[in-house]
Every structure is written in structure tokens, then in C-alpha cells.
């Protein structure tokens, strides 16, 4: 028995389903201005005006009931009740984009033919107005035979009317016919009907200034377009460094103050060491990077919200086709710069299976934000903060090179994979380009807040836990006077064992020690090194030497460079491995991914080390 009726949000990609879902339920599902943002079903609750509860489900957008890709299959399975979900929806909210009516109505007609109770949300009427279109919802309702409610999801216009209509619809309790009963109509016929209805519902159409086209004239220009794309990415990486300096200093100051406060009130001992050397040295070393991660995310969120993402995919398609991918793969890959996990999820929108698999396998090579702490700390310690050619920061430049190395590695990997394990016909690239929109402050802010929350939660759980365990393994057994505590400890003994394997590529004991806990999350490498030096600081009894001082003191430049190179390739992330297992239905591909990436990491780090030593760095 189900107490509350189930209502599904269905419609073309980018129609505003998730925005509407958020407005109706108060949820914070991701919205973005490109097709294929939502790739899973998400449930939410809403109460009708009379208090009746309704379960609303947000679904991935699809163009028809013939799914081509994995995300579309989710929607079709829910709508037709075929996917082994507990039940079919009792009603649907069919979302159509008012500024793109003829195309969206075709799918709406197909959905209405399913004979489930339907209300059409005529969304984005503000954009239609911007385009000089005036529509008559009553004509539309008459032609379609179902209620039509004009809405502007992002400004919550029409939400109450939509809710009221939903209440009426669910109150009627129309007996639902089975989806498979619906007569499938020829798509061309539906298309023409859709165009007729759209024409009939269009009251007037005044040509407006096409600033969309004006923007595209620049963004898609054969020469200016690629230059703009590269410049945007360049500014993004420079900003990650330069804009974050001040907030990082503030956070660092906070942790230092906390550290001295604890040291001044607590007597030296087990608990104090756990707090200062374990938690603060470890977690603090990671939390400091919050500003950088937020700056990176802000850039990506703005690009996603503006509609530029598909333009970038367009510009990249040529290059991606050379390695056997399509421009479509660019969007999951770019979001992998934030984190490979949602990136790998987003590959669901790629319809060709081999194409999708290749994209999943190379996604971990995109430099995710968890690598930023590792890169930043090493760069900060070993690369001088000078300017090249007057205005470009050398540190930012090195960071950019690391990102580019990841991209280059990914391209080479794709090229090889497509010729070996993921062979197949070259897949196509066909994508709707959304209209440009001004990014909404609220959406970006929510995205940033969610990211900050995830990051801090991870710092407080996974990272704190691994560093405390590491601290314990480093602190016991207690070394006799005059011997190195780290070498004497359990962790140190293990690390000295591993060091044998990584010495050929220039890694020292401290790196060996950091690599294993860093499997939990890459940032832990930084936390681990922070903890090692807090526990083992013979030259500085008061522990006031920073991680950076310690690094400079103990590592050579070739070692540091090899360490950076290792992190460009190494699949040091359990979540990525887990999501790969889930999305490829088995252990075969995640194991393959781990194998090839570790091999690449070892070889590249080794090459870097020996090259650096050879040239006398």
C-alpha cells in the first residue's frame, strides 16, 4: 500500500524539470544549462494545498520513449513501469520549453498518448518573451487535451497553479491504462502535429535582437573561439592560486591559533599530541585548501549555468574525434576537474557503450580538486613565486602544466584504448545547444555550499579518521631516546618496506608513508605528510616549523617533481573505483583502470625523477 501518489517530472533535456522539481519540493537538485544534467532519478515530497502528500520524482531528460543512452533508459523505465521500480507514476508533469515549443511538443504528444493523467508545465515563458514570442496556453490546452500551466521555474512563477492542477488531477483518479497499450505513432507524423499546435498557440512573434547569435559569433568563431576557451581555462587556474592567497592565510592563522591555544591549556601528553599532531596537523593541512576548491567550482558552475559548456564541447569535438571520442565526452571530462565521481556518472549521457567506457576509464586523469592540495603544497614549497613574461605567475603556470599533462595523458590513453580494449565504430556528435543564460547567483551559491559541505564533511570524517589512525601508527611504539620516532613506529616500519619499491622512482620514506592512506582520498597525502612531520620533527622541538619548511628541508627537487607526476596519474581514490564498478557493472573495468593508471604513474614518476637528476635539478 502506498499512502501518497507518485508523480514524475518528464520532458526534453534542459526543459527545466529539475528547476521545477526544486521549486515544488524545496529540494536542491543540480540544475545546469546544458542537456544531460540529471542522470539519475531523485525523489522528493510535496504537500498539496489540502495537505495531501505527493511523492515527486525528477528524471533525466529524454527526447522520446526510445532510449539511446543510459540516463534516458532510467526515465523510460520509470514512465513505462518496466525497470523493476516498485510502481508506475500515478501522474506526470510534462515539462516543455516555451521558447522551443515545436520540438518539445512532439515528445509531449508521445507522453500524453500514454494515457496517464498529465499536466503540462509550459516552462521558460520568460525566455519565450525574450525571444519575442507570445503564446496562448488555453489554445495549447485545447489542442493537447490536457491542462497547461505557464511557469518560470527559476522565479517560482506559476508554481501554485501547477500544484493546484496536480491536486485536481490526482483527485480524479482516472483509471490508468498500461503504457505498452499506447499506440506508437510515426515520429514524423507527431513532429508535424507538434508544429501545427505550436503555430496555433503562437499569438504573435516579433523578431528581437539575437544576442544569442552575437555571443556565438565569438564563442564558436573558428579562431577566436578556441583562443577564448584556452584563455578561460588559463584564467581559471591562475585564479585558483592568486585569489585564494588571502582566505588561505586566514584559515591557516585560525589553525595555528587553535594549535597554540590547545598547547597552552593542555599538558603535554597523549591527548594533546592526538589533537595537535594528529587532528590539527592532518585535517588543518587539508581544510586550508577549501578556498581553492571553491574558486575552481565557482568557475565550473558558472560555465555550466551559462550554456557555454556545449559550446566548449563543440570546439573540442574535432580534437576528441581524433582520439576516438566525441565532443559529448567533454562535459563529463570537464566536470571531472571538480571530481571524477559525478564526471563518471555524467557519462551516462553518452549513447555509444564503447565511447562511454573509454570516457570512464580516462576520467580519473582529469585533475580533480582533491589533487589541488597535493599540487599546491609541493608547488608552494619547491617552485619559486616569480613571474614569467611579466605577468604570469610561475606557480600558476606549473599548475597549468600539471593539468595539461593530465589532459594529454587522457588523450593518449583514449587513443590507445580505442585501438585495443574499447574498439568500436567511431561515435557521432549531435547535441542541442541551449540558449545562453545569465548564471543565477542562487544556483551557484547552492552548488558552492554543497561542495564546501561535502569537502568539510570529508575532512571531518575520512580524512580525520585516516590521519588519527596514521598518527597512532606513527606514535607507537615509542622510540628510545635518540632514535627517529617515525622509523621506530609501526607505520614507519611498513613505510620503510614500501620505500624499497618506490625508491627507484625517487620516492622517500615519507612519500611511501603517505601513499597508502591516500587511497582513501588524495588529500590525505597532504594530511599524512603534515602528521609525519608533526610527530617527527627532531630539529624543531616546538613544532613551529611548517610543512613547507619541512618539505624544503627533506625533499630534493627531483623527488618533489616525481611526486607531482605520480599524482597526475595514480588512481588514488576509492570513491572513483567504486563508482566505476557500479557504472560498468563489475570488477573487470575498475581493476583494469587501477592497473593501467598505477603503471603509468610509476613509469612517469620514474622518468621525471631520472630526467630531473640527469639535468642536475
Amino acid at each position: 500500500m502506498h499512502a501518497s501518489p507518485l508523480v514524475a517530472m518528464v520532458g526534453n533535456p534542459n526543459a527545466g524539470k529539475s528547476a521545477l522539481f526544486n521549486a515544488l519540493t524545496g529540494a536542491r537538485q543540480k540544475v545546469g544549462n546544458y542537456p544531460g544534467v540529471t542522470v539519475e532519478r531523485h525523489s522528493g515530497r510535496l504537500s498539496l494545498d489540502d495537505g495531501r502528500p505527493v511523492e515527486l520524482v525528477d528524471l533525466p531528460g529524454t527526447y522520446s520513449l526510445d532510449p539511446v543512452s543510459a540516463d534516458e533508459r532510467v526515465t523510460v523505465d520509470v514512465v513505462t513501469g518496466r525497470g523493476g521500480f516498485e510502481r508506475r507514476p500515478d501522474a506526470m508533469i510534462v515539462v516543455v520549453d516555451a521558447s522551443n515549443l515545436d520540438n518539445h511538443l512532439r515528445f509531449a504528444l508521445q507522453l500524453i498518448a500514454l494515457k496517464l493523467p498529465v499536466v503540462v508545465a509550459l516552462n521558460m515563458v520568460d525566455l519565450a518573451e525574450r525571444d519575442g514570442l507570445t503564446l496562448d496556453p488555453d489554445v495549447l490546452a485545447r489542442e493537447l487535451g490536457v491542462p497547461v500551466v505557464p511557469t518560470v521555474a527559476v522565479r517560482r512563477r506559476g508554481i501554485d497553479v501547477l500544484k493546484a492542477q496536480l491536486g485536481i488531477l490526482l483527485g480524479q483518479r482516472v483509471p490508468t491504462r498500461d503504457a505498452v497499450d499506447a499506440v506508437p505513432e510515426e515520429i514524423g507524423v507527431l513532429q508535424r502535429r507538434a508544429r501545427q499546435i505550436a503555430d496555433a498557440a503562437t499569438v504573435s512573434e516579433t523578431p528581437t535582437r539575437r544576442w544569442n547569435h552575437a555571443l556565438d559569433a565569438v564563442a564558436l568563431h573558428p579562431v577566436v573561439g578556441p583562443v577564448l576557451l584556452v584563455s578561460l581555462l588559463f584564467v581559471m587556474f591562475q585564479a585558483v592560486f592568486t585569489w585564494s592567497e588571502a582566505p588561505i592565510a586566514v584559515i591557516e592563522g585560525g589553525f595555528t591559533a587553535l594549535d597554540s591555544a590547545i598547547k597552552s591549556v593542555m599538558p603535554d601528553g597523549f591527548l594533546r599530541s592526538l589533537l595537535t599532531d594528529g587532528v590539527i596537523a592532518g585535517v588543518g593541512a587539508v581544510v586550508v585548501f577549501l578556498p581553492q576548491i571553491l574558486i575552481l567550482f565557482a568557475f565550473i558552475l558558472v560555465l555550466e549555468a551559462s550554456g557555454y559548456m556545449v559550446r566548449a564541447a563543440f570546439l573540442m569535438d574535432r580534437m576528441m574525434s581524433r582520439v576516438g571520442l566525441s565532443g559529448r565526452a567533454f562535459i563529463p571530462l570537464l566536470s571531472s576537474f571538480a571530481c571524477a565521481v559525478p564526471g563518471i556518472m555524467a557519462t551516462r549521457t553518452i549513447n555509444d557503450e564503447k565511447d562511454r567506457l573509454t570516457t570512464i576509464l580516462i576520467a580519473p586523469l582529469m585533475t580533480c580538486s582533491a589533487r589541488l592540495p597535493v599540487y599546491t603544497i609541493i608547488i608552494g614549497a619547491f617552485i619559486p613565486n616569480t613571474r614569467v613574461a611579466g605577468f604570469v605567475g610561475l606557480q600558476g603556470l606549473v599548475l597549468l602544466v600539471l593539468y595539461l599533462l593530465g589532459i594529454l595523458g587522457a588523450f593518449i590513453a583514449a587513443l590507445v584504448l580505442r585501438r585495443t580494449v574499447t574498439q568500436g565504430a567511431s561515435s557521432g556528435f549531435m547535441m542541442e545547444m541551449p540558449k545562453y543564460q545569465m548564471p543565477r547567483f542562487r544556483d551557484v551559491a547552492i552548488g558552492l555550499w554543497q561542495r564546501a559541505y561535502i569537502f568539510l564533511k570529508r575532512a571531518g570524517t575520512t580524512i580525520a579518521l585516516t590521519t588519527v589512525i596514521l598518527w597512532a601508527l606513527l606514535s607507537f611504539p615509542k622510540a628510545p631516546e635518540g632514535q627517529s620516532q617515525v622509523n621506530y613506529s609501526v607505520a614507519g616500519r611498513i613505510a620503510n618496506g614500501i620505500e624499497v619499491a618506490v625508491r627507484p622512482i625517487g620516492f622517500n620514506r615519507d612519500i611511501a608513508l603517505a601513499l597508502i592512506p591516500a587511497m582513501a582520498a588524495r588529500e590525505v597525502a597532504v594530511a599524512a605528510i603534515g602528521t609525519v612531520y608533526a610527530v617527527d620533527d627532531p630539529e624543531d622541538a616546538k613544532g613551529e616549523r611548517t610543512i613547507v619548511d619541512n618539505l624544503r628541508h627533506r625533499w630534493t627537487l627531483p623527488t618533489a617533481l616525481a611526486f607531482l607526476m605520480w599524482f597526475v596519474f595514480a588512481p588514488q581514490c576509492i570513491s572513483t573505483i567504486a563508482v566505476t564498478r557500479r557504472e560498468t557493472n563489475g570488477w573487470k573495468w575498475p581493476l583494469f583502470m587501477i592497473g593501467y593508471l598505477f603503471a603509468a604513474a610509476y613509469i612517469m614518476a620514474g622518468l621525471t625523477y631520472w630526467l630531473a637528476v640527469a639535468v642536475g635539478l
Binding site: 527526447y63 522520446s64 556565438d216 542541442e432
Partner: protein
Amino acid sequence: MTANLNLETLPRHQAATVDSIEWTRLATPEARRLRELGFDAGVSIEVLHRARFGGGPIACRIGRMTVALRRAVAGAVRVSLDPLPAE
């Protein structure tokens, strides 16, 4: 005069109409997606952009939508130029 014009060769910003689509030249999923994006005989079409020099995808306006597609697919879309509007 415009007998063999297709979307791949259509000059930029030339108002045109889709004549027919050679479905047999396309892979099944590709053909279906093309249909779903509104490509159909009688629909107005215009080439907006071509990425880089040769080889890259094409961005076109079809109905009210802007769609990016590869040249090989565009080659299967036969078009005819619209008569010039009277001055």
C-alpha cells in the same frame, strides 16, 4: 540549380529549407536522434558556424533550436535555398 545542396555545403547564413534526409546513409541511433531534434522535410534551416577549418562539426539553426552535428551527418541532409525576400 540547387539540386545537390546539402547541409554540409550550405553557405553560412543562407536561409534554406530541408528537402529530404538520406536516412540510409546514417547509423540507426544517429538517424533517430536527428529526427528527434526536429530534422524533417519542410523545416527551415540555417548554418550558423563551422568549427575550425574543415573537419570540425557544424552548428545550425533548425526551427527554433540550435543543434551541433558532425559534417558526415550534415551531408545526409539535403536542403534547398529559400527564395530571396523581395526588396
